[in-house]
Subunit: 394 residues, 2 copies
């Protein structure tokens, strides 16, 4: 049986332990919901002050002087370093849903003779809704991969694009990007990866793996703040051939010509549509600095151990208490989250919150616990299970 | 001939003079570019501090506790009061371009048998690009109204929707919403108004005038900050029939069911797509408070007089200096901006900036001067023309 001392020992050996001091976590809270909204980096308030000063003092001049104009690309490149993308292929902009619409539409247009969009039967809802919308508006049909089956088995030469999440938001099941991308390409199709639930905690090498498109949000493990601008990636290999429907002024090759006809910008900027929220963009920019010297492989190693310890402690201390492990048991198949089913999940969730452990609940009976390795400690894992056990024992 | 004292007298009688103290304007700057980026309300830094505290302390709980979830509607209603829309019809979200895509697509879908989208030959570029995109993707053709002609003369029973700007960004020419909307409706078509260059300075009564859709940005006269979230309006009369292509999780009737099928929310929330940037939204929310007790009719009265004084002073003091008035001379046909053409407009613009007068330049030869009546004084108008005259005299 593990003891709290065993977990304290792991904290003592943790090469990432120093990062917790860079976040402003409320005292006494065990926060296991960084997979929904990341904690606030301490660098954020100063960055917000800077951008408000820029606005106040430079006014319209801030677009050039303060570099606002370049922020979607500059912040995009910072995200690129985390997801294995060389500069010039990532834009920070809009929302994940909107970036899905842009990239899926672009992929479908690149495969005009193919009639099927492939996606997951139980993907994140917004991915499904956007896939359905693009399919309906482009006369395509949607083919869904049943849970626990491999997308590779549902590919054929009618598939234009596969829209896949790297980590399942419900179960934390992990899909392998290199092998899946290769299978999609073997079928002559393109892939759009949704990295919302994986970026920052699972090593990602979009360029090396030859991924075509990717999207993701920045308010989970990337700690960009509530509703922070999302991002999209387009591989340089296909960039110049792409067109996307949300063609706006900001994506024009020469916006200040104010031309009547749209001419897409040569680079990834063609996926930009309108003006981005600069205050939120600067906050995100500052949040990403936490990752400047982080090795995501090291984050993954800690993430794996955190979730292993959590599962082991639940096994040891909560047997016969109605919990079922929904997440994959093999660590290599699991993201940085553990999902447990319980017939009274809502009540359990409420009591956990009341006792200082913040995970979350997903309908109908799922308790999710996310482990953000930059600020969650092994002792937190022990303490969370301690509270979980006492809540269930009541 | 007018004197500076005449303008000081107007300032002394100005019922809006008190509002300037609510903005943080750099000392010594005459800022005539509020039509591009509004100045910063003094309430903004505190509001930014509040939302960062909410994020830090409430974390994921902020969505309910701090009311983040309701912000697109709550902020939308604040904007609604400025544009004559009763509650529940306006959403603050995304960008103007994206909201154009949503509303134009929705309008086209409501008139499935009509083949034409009507727009302006020289509208704002993003409006044209989005119109072109929707037309291409829905098999419609675009019909353009030449400058200085009336949209009413280009309507017939093939037109599904007219996409029109209330104020022309180049010339400040003003289109009459009630008569134009009535003409569009007489032809059986729908209208999408772009209010970006008019909201806050021209009285707008969307509900009373029976407008169908509207969009706009909030970073010009509404002072929401660089790239602040935009807005859209859908008239309650047609809301329940509308569908729009950017159908995302946030627009679902019951998002937390995490259902596989999209079911649009009953109200205007169906036009929401993804998660909005909450930090930027709170900043916008605080900025809009400046308008809480403002009568837009009073703003319009001052705006008219400011632009009249500017034109009169340019006439009196800059004759023979190469300036041509591009804006309409009758005040009732002009927004809160005066555009002047000059063969060396770029050089003039640069020297104006160097001498503390910030207007802007639009290709190829247009100098634009925007008058935000909440913080621009009559003395500013005098001083701006004084600098303009001395720059041109050199």
């Amino acid at each position: 049986m593990l003891t709290r001392d065993d977990l304290m020992t792991l904290d003592g050996e943790d090469p990432l332990a120093q990062y917790r001091a860079r976040f402003d976590i409320p005292d006494g809270l065990i926060y296991l919901d960084g997979n929904s909204l990341g904690a606030q980096p301490k660098s954020v308030p100063a960055a917000a002050g800077v951008v408000l000063d820029e606005w106040q003092s430079q006014l319209i001049g801030g677009w050039r002087q303060a570099g606002w104009w370049e922020l979607p690309l500059a912040v995009g490149d910072k995200i690129g370093r985390i997801i294995g993308a060389a500069p010039g292929q990532v834009l920070a902009c809009d929302t994940t849903s909107i970036n899905l619409y842009k990239t899926i539409s672009a992929a479908v247009a690149l495969r005009p003779d193919r009639s099927v969009i492939l996606t997951e039967e139980i993907g994140f809802p917004t991915d499904q809704y956007i896939v359905d919308s693009v399919a309906e508006r482009t006369g395509r049909t949607v083919r869904s991969v049943p849970r626990d089956e491999s997308p590779a088995d549902y590919l054929d030469d009618s598939v234009s694009v596969a829209v896949l999440g790297q980590v399942d938001f419900r179960t934390a099941a992990l899909l392998d990007i290199p092998t899946t991308t290769a299978a999609v390409h073997d079928a002559g199709a393109l892939v759009v990866w949704d990295l919302s639930h994986s970026a920052g905690v699972v090593p990602i090498a979009l360029d090396a793996d030859g991924a075509d498109f990717a999207v993701g949000c920045t308010y989970k493990y990337l700690n960009g703040g509530p509703g922070a601008p999302a991002y999209l990636y387009v591989n340089q290999r296909i960039l110049s051939e792409t067109v996307q429907p949300l063609q706006g002024w900001l994506g024009h090759a020469e916006p200040f010509l104010m031309a009547n006809e749209y001419q897409p910008a040569p680079g990834v900027r063609r996926f930009l549509t309108g003006t981005q929220p600069i205050v939120a963009m600067r906050v995100l920019d500052a949040s990403l600095d936490v990752y400047a010297d982080v090795d995501v492989a090291e984050v993954r190693a800690k993430s794996t151990r955190l979730t292993e310890m959590f599962i082991r402690l639940v096994d040891e201390r909560c047997t016969g208490m109605g919990l079922d492990l929904l997440s994959p048991r093999p660590a290599e198949s699991r993201g940085s989250q553990v999902s447990l089913r319980h017939p009274e999940a809502v009540a359990v969730y409420d009591r956990l919150v009341a006792n200082g452990v913040r995970g979350d609940f997903r309908s109908p009976d799922i308790l999710r616990f996310g482990f953000a390795p930059l600020y969650v400690s092994y002792a937190d894992v022990w303490d969370a299970v301690e509270v979980l056990q006492s809540v269930l024992a009541r």
